[in-house]
Symmetry: C2
Subunit: 634 residues, 2 copies
């Protein structure tokens, strides 16, 4: 790593990381004009960011900074991590400035940065929970009050702002605080206070700060914070992943967002250090996640109790926790794993998580949010405009604002296409030439993608063949079928001397697919879920008036018809089908359990009913209504 | 209520309660010599009580009292409710002294009482968490630190000790503290501090103290504490049932033990006041419990998160919380409802809960306990000798020690038989005569019960026809069949001029019964459970080596054979049967979800396997082993 001075707005900068295979494009290198993401990016800019800025003021989160700066009287109010909501909003605004420069937003960002800078103490310290509260307790409650977590989000926002705008106003603040942290926390033999964070986040931020500034000290500090876990410095419990050293973790345990962010940080450290014990740990934890502890949606964290991972196969539907922030963390983690390894499984899960675990957190109106994302509900769970603990809303904003950054990567060999969506990417090749790739597609509603090349160059274009596409993709290059190695869940590398007018046509068949779950997942036994392409579907009571969703049965002869509905739920493809409503003739009223005569036929009140499946991300956008992802089958 | 001075060791004394239909017998009026409860009562006396007394010392719980008394230096250690473990042990020991007088135990009890008495402050206050801790915070944290809960258990222990031994040593202590509480807490207009408890328990204790002392002031205090709920004095949240007035509760919500104990207290208040709004509330909550929020076992409290009731039908098996104390609370509540109303449904649930939700909390060795009682497990959940929060072990001890008190009741009309078990009851009739009833039975293993009368009297003997006995009981009186009104879940009243040698023979058929759950209980869909008589059964991996319990399928042709095993699991009837192990031929290794082709037959690796069902209460008494109450069916 050497000193650099760039303003390339990439999400995770592995351009000089010795142990990463891929490097990101800047968020402004890709401009989407599709039906799916482009309207959401615009909504994020026009609705989400302004309403959140107003809420940061209205809920006292900005006032806390002014109190820290001594410009307003009173004590810090709210949760001890409330500063981070301001930082995450700043990060979201920074990415937005990169893709859609806007003088008003730029000025608002400058003003908020000034508010933050004013609160910084002479020694660099910046945490209003302490400065405007129990100031004498600084650095004494690391396990509990998210002091380093707050610092981490400050640093991430600062790096994003610097990359997006070239300004160093926030970066200078972050650096001073990071320097102070490096001075204060560390090995006792260096005369420092041993410690690490109760809520990871700063690890990945410090690595990014090291990349942005070229100062390896921040990387070393991140390594220190990771390496001392398991010594009881962060509480010593599983909840905070401090019950054993990081490299000895063999399952995803404790608070979900904590361990996922920790993994993202460990991946960033690996990118710089190549420590093989980190990669094996990351791969072990990823395997545990995906084979034992993940919802069909990609959602993570089964338990309300401790916002935590449950045991293997503990994946209740109505009581799923699946915090939106955990899905965002999963995107962050998988993005880093992808950059490290170039393996398609990480891009697969990143895409799946974006559509099915992240996006449900956001209302179609752009200003209401889920914190918790159940896979079954009775119509009581509704998105809210804000939360007392409001980590998710600005986390959603920064993810949408940077989504264009996840579509492509570069390597020395060429360009990798990870996500599909209509738009144009302008990509600087290693040899200095620029090539433009245009995706023409209606993805995710349709599996046809045409990638048109504008420019010249001899490079490998690797296109992801999504693992959901089990029927097998077909590909044509300038009209010629490419038939080799079309393995779902891999990249097809197309090496060629490309020139303007070349077209790669991808066809990913999108039949409706029925999914069954591992038999150990108790609530999914005897049930099927429905997917199409990269989307998980669900049924909502709103489309099935009078039907008991618990009595719905899909039969083995079930068929589905995709139906385009441009003005429904923000524009969608619904799946129409029919099932049977098999109500038991037994009147359960007043009974929870009853004896059954196994030799008698059960009397059923059976009707065939038309069914409409909507994308899971779109549920709860109408009147309160029961919802199911998993339905019974015969 | 008038001033009385009795030492009748009854569990809940409604003898003079104007709004109770039944009154309890003393715990020593019934002496069991059956195979089931008698050995457990002996084990409680010989193993449980001595080991717990040693643990009370070893874990600092007794030391906390000595610290409070100034006889030992240092601050209070452990949870703020640790005093109650001592009180519950005292209560257990008191009931034991009533049934099985023992000079050594009597002396131990006197010594522990002295330790408690020494810690009492001059004004009557007694809570070592404050006296040996933050003493200035007395009465300032009612919502949080169980100050009144501790007082409640002191009072309950004192009443039990007085009833059992006639001694007033502990009763005097309890009364002084209760007087102090009555002086301190109450309406502001009386110059007192408004407040109520964060954890109910004292309500029922105060009513019992009023009964024991004849001092109505304690009853009034209990009413006050109940009536001010919902005003935010106990935190204002649902967790502590302080979000709305008690009489407005329409579902079992929040911390399970709290609301159940509160209901028991409300029932006691109703017994004295006849306030009809209390009875309707209690019946409404009982209906919600039994029709929406109860496990098949009678276990209560679905959520680990907050040790709480879940939503309607939220009843996960492996993640069931079903705290043993909640089952004990349910016995307490149902016992009171039974005393109030004489309705069989409460005795039914009390019996079912004793066998299937309470008893699983206790190991067969009498010295290990479950706090949490899942209905499915992978062999990881094991009983422990003690807990940091050790509410359950001494709660179990006091319940076993008083179990004989729940078998019969008296009314002006005669005697009611609620529980079955071989033994002899000596009952003083209202007319002053004494009659002895002897039950000859192998219940719960066998449904034949002979009740032999020894004595003379014209009274009604009401025998409970358990609701589980759906096939219908048959009854003979002196060899003559009684055929009328044999409705399961009711009492058959037998009015007669009884004389020595009269015999009532009850026959309760005990076929093995398959149970299905309400379709809204997501984890039980497509599953059956197995019961016989009053017992819920389960399968344990220990009896099914190499079989995947998740792949077990009971078929509609399934049959069961009860098999007596006198030396197995403390003596039991197991149910042998056979089922099918239907392993999917699909190798799930590395997959959580997969697409299914609905038109293809699923390939199954199917074997018939012999099955052994054991009573659920006996699980986890061998090597660690997976367990299931609910099994799949075809």
């Amino acid at each position: 790593m050497s000193v650099v001075n760039r303003t390339a707005s990439v999400v995770v900068d592995t351009a000089r990381s010795p142990h990463a295979r891929l490097r990101a494009l800047t968020v402004d290198a890709v401009r989407l004009d599709d039906e799916f993401w482009a309207p959401r990016i615009r909504l994020n800019r026009e609705v989400t960011l302004p309403t959140q800025l107003e809420l940061l003021e209205r809920t006292g989160r900005l006032a806390n900074f002014r109190k820290g700066a001594g410009k307003e009287s009173g004590r810090f109010e709210g949760f001890y991590f409330n500063d981070t909501d301001v930082y995450k909003w700043l990060e979201a605004a920074a990415w937005t400035l990169a893709t859609d420069p806007d003088p008003l937003l730029d000025r608002q960002v400058d003003e908020v940065i000034q508010v933050a800078a004013d609160a910084q103490q002479p020694n660099g310290y910046l945490d209003n929970y302490y400065v405007a509260g129990d100031d004498e307790k600084r650095w004494t409650e690391l396990y509990r009050t998210h002091e380093l977590y707050c610092a981490g989000h400050l640093i991430q926002a600062a790096v994003a702002h610097h990359r997006a705008t070239g300004k160093t106003t926030l970066l200078d603040v972050a650096r001073r605080f990071a320097d102070h942290i490096c001075d204060v926390l560390g090995p006792a033999e260096e005369g420092k206070q041993p410690g690490t964070d109760g809520h990871p986040e700063i690890e990945l931020a410090l690595v990014e700060l090291a990349r942005e500034t070229g100062d390896r000290r921040y990387l070393d500090q991140a390594r220190y914070l990771l390496d001392v876990r398991g010594q009881g410095l962060a509480g010593g419990d599983e909840y905070r992943q401090d019950h054993k050293p990081y490299r000895e973790l063999d399952a995803m345990v404790g608070h979900a967002v904590r361990i996922i962010y920790l993994n993202a940080g460990a991946a960033d450290i690996y990118a710089e250090t190549g420590d093989p014990t980190l990669l094996t740990t990351l791969e072990r934890l990823w395997d545990n996640t995906t084979t034992k502890r993940m919802y069909l949606t990609g959602g993570l964290g089964a338990r309300h109790d401790g916002e935590a991972f449950g045991d293997d196969y503990e994946l209740p539907n109505a009581r799923a926790y699946t915090e939106t922030c955990a899905a965002i963390g999963s995107v962050m983690w998988n993005w880093r794993m992808l950059l490290l390894t170039g393996e398609a499984r990480y891009a697969d899960l990143m895409e799946w998580t974006l559509y099915n675990a992240f996006l449900p957190g956001l209302a179609l109106n752009g200003r209401e949010y889920f914190y918790v994302n159940p896979l079954a509900d009775e119509g009581k769970h509704r998105r809210q405009p804000w939360f007392e603990c409001s980590c998710c809303p600005p986390n959603i904003a920064r993810t949408i604002a940077s989504i264009t950054g996840y579509f492509y990567t570069l390597s020395d060999a060429g360009i990798q296409v990870h996500l599909y969506g209509q738009g144009t990417a302008e990509i600087a090749l290693p040899d200095g030439r620029t090539v433009r790739l245009r995706q023409q597609t209606r993805y995710p509603w349709d599996g046809d993608v045409a990638i048109e090349v504008d420019g010249e160059g001899d490079f490998t274009l690797s296109v992801r063949l999504p693992s959901w596409c089990e029927q097998g993709a077909t590909i044509e290059i300038n009209g010629e079928p490419a038939s080799d190695h079309l393995q779902p869940g891999s990249y097809l590398p197309i090496q060629r001397n490309w020139s303007t007018g070349d077209v790669v046509r991808l066809h990913f068949p999108m039949p409706v697919t029925l999914i069954e779950a591992h038999p150990r997942i108790a609530e999914d036994t005897g049930r099927w879920a429905v997917t199409r392409g990269p989307l998980v579907y669900c049924v909502e009571q709103a489309d099935h008036a009078g039907v008991d969703l618990n009595a719905l049965v899909l039969t083995h002869g079930v068929s589905f018809m995709p139906e385009e509905r441009p003005s429904f739920l923000g524009g969608t493809v619904v799946l129409t089908s029919s099932g049977w409503e098999e109500r038991s003739a037994f009147d359960w009223d007043g009974r929870l359990y009853r004896s059954v005569d196994p030799t008698a036929e059960q009397e059923l009140d059976t009707h065939q009913v038309p069914l409409t499946f909507i994308p899971y991300y779109a549920w709860a956008n109408r009147e309160p209504s029961a919802m199911r992802v998993w339905l019974g089958h015969d």
